[in-house]
Subunit: 211 residues, 4 copies
DNA sequence: TATGAATGAGCCTTCATTCAT
DNA sequence: CATGAATGAAGGCTCATTCAT
């Protein structure tokens, strides 16, 4: 893998082609799995030859990391922005879920790969960076729930479990979501948000009764 | 793979050893992943030799199917029993979640493997049987939700999404659950059950207001 | 590369076959060079298949180290014995040269490989051990020269240069020696020994004159 | 590889750059070995681009031949001159050794490559020319020894072995020589020359005694 | 019965060289 | 002239599985 060209004009073309390679790989990995996708299959999918592919990536593993990398950063940025704006926590929750599910919708293959190839990803040297970003994202979610509790908007018996339930339902989404289906990202986000807000509504009848 | 011994005394010992092989494999696959676990590693983990291992299994893939097989049937049986007994749907939901999470707790490695190695499992000829069982389980869950709706116990805006959310949170559990931790299977089951019941409570304040 | 069998009977057969592999590789490397000898060529030379070869070695590089390893130790042992026995230094020199050249004669291919593939060998992690042994051997040679000087048997203007000249002529030998030729190892050893003893004879005419 | 420019002004610049390429390659090959030095490394060392490099050479192998070619001819010319001038053979030996070791000193990298990459060089079609020149050089050395014997200046028990010993010590020199060290080319040449003259001195005491 | 040496197709990757731009 | 993306054959190596002993 030679270093990318530094001249801007060439660099742009290089980046574009590289992106195409990464997306094609994400699609193939999502479809058939990382291990079942041979480099030969990637060559066919990209139309490149063996040597050509390795202009854009260092390793088949590396390809996996590239898929994951470009996945996390943009979502993390949006989450930070939402978290920084001091909207009411229930609004923040909805916004972050919308961002998240739109991200899943936009990068469905990448998300599927990220979910499914944990063992490979965790074996990479890069892994700790990805995990750190993941944790930051989860911490922001948790803080929203905490603020909702503090402000009396939600009453959550076990916040850790609530967070894990939320992570579970969202992370499972790529496994069944298919674009153009009955539900779009926004509807799913609203569904999950309502689910959480209703479940832990501070002023629910049962909530009031048990108080 | 020679056929198992037919004399009962020998058959018992055979079955016991085979179970030990399957469990060891489940542990290794859960820890390192199916592809990263070589047959050689399995040999070391079981203390068997190459020839010895293949007395108990036909194939490495086959091992994966064995792990999955013994996983689904007992849970499916319990679910059928719960479903057949005509308890109130909210009780059925709680019972099935308890059964489910106890199953996860008891077969944590197997569950992790089942979740993580989808691509391999889906490539097996056996796969359609497993999928059929899986779908039966999900259908039973769905029917409980449907009955709860019919009887006015729950008011679910989108039952498909509610089901998928539930599947997501439970299926995600093996990824973070660790035995002897703060929460046991029963507590998690109750947490999820409450979450669902509260979220879709028919007589919630907000539910009534928005109606 | 599986670990070698521990049962003595099997171990013997294993060691014998392994030796045959190493010798065949040494021959091929000596003939065509390390890089020009593909693993496929090694397979043909040994009659093994790809997987079979890798029962005996870990790596093609490893093979090179095996060739070198078994080369140095026996000679070093003989040199130590000669060095320990406190014969007159001129006898020690002759003995060590005989041992050395017989070693070259007996392991001609290995020696050629060792001389010719320096760059590969020096890149190996094992390299520092080999270098240490090599240096010990050279130090023993140097000590013999030093003792010869001390005892007035030789008068050496520049002992370092004398040692390097000796190393040069012996190390060059594998490049032209061919078994069954006009000169055998003993004759060459004597030739080199005489060359050194005459060149630095303490009581030579010119030596005396210049003193 | 386009043909070099024919206009003299351009040709000079071309030759100069080409020389720089060859020297850089010699340095890299000497340092890391021919096979371990990729063309990419050569590009970095020279500052050229792939296309650029191939203006000056036809092939990576070709580069090796260029390194060797410019190595032998000048030394051979000097040797011929020394051989033609009918000085006493002991003076010729000294002169040729001085020329030789100065050549080594001046082209240390090239000499190292020539010594170390025998297998590659011998695979080249060009090889027979180089070998012919090499042999001519060795024949001239041998003739000097023969003349010394004829004239009674030296008494050499085995002239072939004496020649091989000399070739060995000189050819080994590039492996340990380092410019600016304790010994310069002239001192080494004298050391080797004295070594040979003393070893085979016709009128040595022991020589006379043993006769 | 139990062993472990052997199989061999297929894997990922490299790199000297070319040629459209 | 110069560029650097692309070539593609060949490389070393793996590993689930078999079977002679």
């Amino acid at each position: 893998m030679p270093s990318p060209p530094s001249r801007p004009a060439l660099r742009a073309r290089y980046d574009q082609r590289r992106r195409r390679v990464i997306d094609a790989a994400a699609h193939a990995f999502a479809q058939r799995g990382y291990h079942a996708t041979s480099v030969a299959a990637l060559l066919q999918a990209t139309g490149l030859t063996a040597g050509g592919l390795y202009h854009y990536i260092a390793t088949k593993d590396d390809l996996l990391m590239l898929i994951c990398d470009e996945l996390i950063d943009p979502l993390l940025d949006r989450a930070r922005a939402i978290s920084a704006a001091q909207d009411p926590p229930q609004d923040q929750l909805r916004e972050i879920l919308h961002a998240w599910l739109e991200h899943i919708e936009a990068h469905l293959d990448h998300m599927r790969v990220f979910q499914q190839e944990r063992h490979v990803i965790e074996g990479e040297p890069h892994w700790h960076e990805i995990r750190a970003k993941r944790r930051e994202f989860e911490r922001m979610l948790d803080e929203i729930l905490a603020r909702a509790q503090e402000r009396g908007v939600m009453r959550i018996p076990d916040r850790r479990l609530a967070l894990l339930a939320l992570l579970g339902m969202v992370n499972y989404t790529p496994q069944w979501f298919h674009p153009g289906g009955r539900l779009d990202a926004a509807q799913i986000a609203d569904g999950y948000c309502d689910l959480m807000l209703e479940a832990y509504a501070a002023n629910s009848l049962r909530g009031s009764e048990s108080a």
